[in-house]
């Protein structure tokens, strides 16, 4: 079963890369952007076929490795 995870930086955490991307977009003429925040995206093909169990496992993965909860939030999405 395929599960996707999106990791984003928490609101208060500075994202210098996002800022630079925003500036670059601005320089290219995309002047209607308020803010850019960069994150991470994972596609996980789990052996588990039960959707609930698979999601629980992925949630554990997020907490233990994929995200650092001091600075990041995670969101699990069905692929």
């Amino acid at each position: 079963m395929k599960i996707s995870v999106i990791i984003t930086l928490k609101k208060d955490v500075l994202d210098p890369q996002g800022k630079v991307i925003h500036q670059a977009l601005d320089g290219m003429g995309f002047n209607d952007v308020n803010e850019v925040r960069q994150g991470k995206y994972f596609e996980i093909d789990a052996k588990e076929t039960d959707p609930k169990k698979a999601k629980d496992k992925v949630e554990e993965m997020c907490k233990k490795l994929l995200a650092n909860l001091v600075i990041e939030n995670y969101k699990i999405i069905d692929a």
């Binding site: 210098p16 890369q17 233990k64 490795l65």
Partner: protein
């Protein structure tokens, strides 16, 4: 005094640390990250480098490697564990010291000498050291120390800040903050002060002909404190 330096795939300051520790009298052993047991040690060092290519987040994979469970147990039983640079990143990812290290504020890899002020000498790392300011070397891309305001309050209440970036005279100002770290923090302790994580490399400042000797001061003092 016995020490152990852990080598992870991608560590590159492990041998420098080995040379430095031996120079000041430690009997040092190199320990591979896939080993399960730590040799008997008075000090364990997580060295600098780019463990696991800095994939995912710096230090995140290394913090889950086999040897780390033994390092965590050793630290929790009061053992001295010091993480330098990437080693500091591994310590935060392992949860042995609070906070995280983000990408440097201005997105540049910083490689230069800095001054740091010792904030707390009531611990085995800095006790009896004469200097208040040390000149050490930093070389990192992710050294921007960050923690939540609640964590910061807790860290400060427990006197867990070890060193702050400053100028030669010891003045701590934003101007002397190379990477955007909260309150110029360059190194912190765990609550019990037996675990120290810091971005500067003392092992790079042990030769008067190549660099300075403030790393020598730190390491000489450390081994004397452990005796």
């Amino acid at each position: 005094m016995k020490s152990s330096v852990i080598t992870f795939p991608g560590s590159n300051c492990d041998r420098d640390m080995d040379v430095a520790l031996k120079k000041f009298g430690f009997k040092n052993k190199m320990v591979w990250h896939q080993d399960v047991e730590l040799p008997k040690s008075d000090l364990v060092v997580l060295p600098g480098g780019f463990s696991y290519g800095d994939y995912l987040r710096c230090g995140s994979m290394a913090s889950k490697s086999k040897i780390m469970q033994s390092v965590i147990n050793f630290a929790n039983s009061g053992g001295m564990v010091m993480g330098i640079c990437n080693g500091f990143q591994i310590l935060v990812e392992a949860g042995l010291v609070p906070g995280v290290l983000l990408r440097n504020k201005y997105l540049e890899f910083i490689c230069k000498n800095v001054f740091v002020k010792i904030n707390n000498k009531d611990n085995a790392y800095f006790k009896n050291i004469n200097n208040n300011v040390l000149e050490l070397h930093i070389a990192h891309n992710e050294g921007n120390y960050f923690c939540t305001s609640d964590q910061l309050k807790e860290i400060e209440d427990n006197a867990q800040v070890a060193i702050n970036y400053c100028d030669q005279s010891g003045e701590i100002k934003d101007t002397f903050n190379p990477n955007g770290s909260v309150n110029n923090i360059a190194g912190i302790f765990n609550k019990e002060k037996n675990v120290l994580g810091m971005m500067p490399h003392p092992e790079r400042m042990i030769d008067p002909y190549l660099s300075g000797e403030d790393g020598s001061l730190f390491l000489k003092n450390l081994i004397n404190n452990l005796k």
